[in-house]
Symmetry: C2
């Protein structure tokens, strides 16, 4: 399950972070968007609810949420952004057109990883897997 704004807020408190109006605003935007938003885009949306917020605060809030494992980064072409983190191991399917994100958890890379590890002698720590494409709504026009 993807966490709710309340859930996120409570984690912040538990970890000793203050729950300010700015942070609430950022959290709300992230939660109410299925898209993966770049800091700048997120900033624009947050300003609607909280016009005085600074871009710097958005950056700092995102970094904090990321460190707490509440949100994660996704790649979209050369750009990148943040989206809510469902609990546990997972990956993303990102629409390069609108940025919407779908999660999936079954990546079945264990076997491949095992073999690669043996063949190369690498001690594999993790993997980066993401699909790119066009979501249902973006398949028509350009």
């Amino acid at each position: 399950m993807r966490p709710s704004a309340k859930k996120i807020a409570s984690v912040l408190r538990q970890k000793g972070h203050k729950l300010t109006a700015q942070r609430r605003a950022v959290i709300n935007v992230v939660v109410n968007s299925g898209e993966h938003l770049a800091p700048a885009a997120l900033y624009e949306r947050v300003r609607r609810a909280h016009p005085a917020i600074g871009l710097v605060t958005v950056y700092r809030t995102l970094e904090m949420l990321h460190e707490l494992g509440l949100i994660c980064r996704v790649h979209r072409g050369e750009k990148h952004g943040y989206t809510l983190a469902p609990s546990g191991h997972h990956h993303h399917l990102v629409c390069t057109e609108c940025g919407i994100v779908a999660d999936f958890t079954d990546c079945d890379l264990e076997v491949l990883q095992q073999r690669l590890s043996q063949q190369t002698g690498f001690k594999i720590e993790g993997h980066l897997l993401q699909f790119l494409g066009y979501c249902r709504d973006c398949q028509g026009g350009t």
Copy 2:
């Protein structure tokens, strides 16, 4: 197979690009390194053979080689760099410590891709897969 410097040079000619001393120097460094090098690191090495080269030229040469499909980008943590592109579909196993890269071609993601496509309605165009870990030589120390 990974392309040789000669192979790359001949492709440049075929495509109507000029083969300058600077380009040769960049190509040689990329070819003689199994690592994935960031533009700045590559620049340092290229200077040994060609001290007067500008960083800008390195960027432009890398971009050109990338467009021709002769080299490809890899991700290493938050950073990124370039490495030789073996022909055909492939992926990388990157050592986060020293940056050395191993290639592999069999990713078996077709089945997963098919299912995701059906489940989400996405028209999947491609995927991003890369393993991160420590190579044989970097597993000991930090």
